[in-house]
Symmetry: C2
Subunit: 303 residues, 2 copies
Amino acid sequence: MLPFARVGIIGMGLIGASLARAVRARLPTVRLTVHDADAGVRERVRALDLADDVTDTAAACVIDADLVILCVPVRAMGAAAAEIADDLSAGCVVSDVGSVKASVLADLTAALPPSVHIVPAHPVAGTEKSGPDAGFATLFDGRWCILTPGPDADATAVARVTEFWTRLGANVETMDPAHHDLVLAVTSHLPHLIAYTIVGTASDLESVTRSEVIKYSAGGFRDFTRIAASDPTMWRDVFLSNKDAVLDVLQRFSEDLSALQRAIRWGDGDYLHALFTRTRAVRRTIIDAGQDTAADDFGRPHA
Amino acid sequence: MLPFARVGIIGMGLIGASLARAVRARLPTVRLTVHDADAGVRERVRALDLADDVTDTAAACVIDADLVILCVPVRAMGAAAAEIADDLSAGCVVSDVGSVKASVLADLTAALPPSVHIVPAHPVAGTEKSGPDAGFATLFDGRWCILTPGPDADATAVARVTEFWTRLGANVETMDPAHHDLVLAVTSHLPHLIAYTIVGTASDLESVTRSEVIKYSAGGFRDFTRIAASDPTMWRDVFLSNKDAVLDVLQRFSEDLSALQRAIRWGDGDYLHALFTRTRAVRRTIIDAGQDTAADDFGRPHA
């Protein structure tokens, strides 16, 4: 049973383009229509042949669709929804891929007619690259996709979106939007915040040159730069839309950092060793859960 | 011209074992003798056939050697040097691979006789794994090795150590020990400190379960766990031995983090976007400099 027959995707960045490729690869009988607000991106998507039709307007993209997925930055969701509101078929399912869910659920609910079913989603997957060329069909394989329907959401619509993401290779979980935002503040938003900060700090020092930072980055710094190379607009929106949860976990992080700072200042080697032993074990758990590769050094080539 | 004919390595962890393999592969005529304080490690090194001889004592390892390399945790360097002091040949070059250099130069100078040449070194390379099985011959390929000889060091000894590391595939740079410690505080020690902290913070939350942290780690958190899986003893010693520089750059980081925190709290999207755009450019520079792979997502397999 095909969960949806006519899918529209708005926004052809890394995630939208990966989604289009995954639909093509895994659900080849789906009629796929896509749109991007940027004419250059649309041209590129046509050249890459990522969809059956690339429309010049968002409204044209959603006509007759039974599933529409908004793949735009979190704070652009409301406007994108408003742009298609009048052209959605009754009973159409509208979803998204945003990294923040409470604000998106509120924005979609405000912008869309009651005749459509809203099922927000967040595939926890991505890379540091942006744009349609960066997308690939296997991005969601084995990753988790979190659905955050509101309390009155249509159960059949939720089941169909679950089936859709399962077909694309993802594991699907349903979660309360506020809890989603707290969990992701820890596993994704705080790590990005820290990575952006440390890369900024290292670039601004007067006593160490930029060239030295680059040359000796293999000592650990370079791993942070991958995350700090993520899309600026997407991440600006994430932090502004999930402000409370991000500031909460940041407070916890700062307290823990102060404790570590104090241990270093006072030479408390036992404190350091105990923490470092505990954190080492966490990685093994992530590898056992299939959420990262066991190859050491991320399997970086050394030859 | 072979820079050294008889090399002794003390300590067969990740770096010592990689060094032994690299010597075997790139300088096959060198007579290589190794030692580890742990009998189980010695047995493993014999089984892996990493050297011509595996000695049961450190003293036996250095007899007749013209180069001895200490590959033990930074705060164990002094004791390791004292253990071999009486058995070193006059004119022997003693080096190390520690991540902190001012304290190691001081410790080696205090422990060793004036008849040997001290040329401290730091190959900026490694993985999150430990022990002799984790070592591999190509670890130093294209990475930088920083030499930090004292002001009165023998120029010929420095040139020979430079040639040695060059033959093993590394780029060699000479630097003042104190400046080395500041540069590495930024490019290596601070990133490790931050990674250890965030992995600890995430593990301790009551509102988000450990299982949730693991499941959704692909959102960014998992990259930090690789660094936070590094050897606890090695890193305890690094922080305690490079306390001043680490606390200095940590102070800068904390200030920058507070500025970002404030921008989020006050909704200053332009500040965020400007920083995130700037940090994105840093990664490109690191890839251009050959210090990381250009494959997105570290080339993690997605199939």
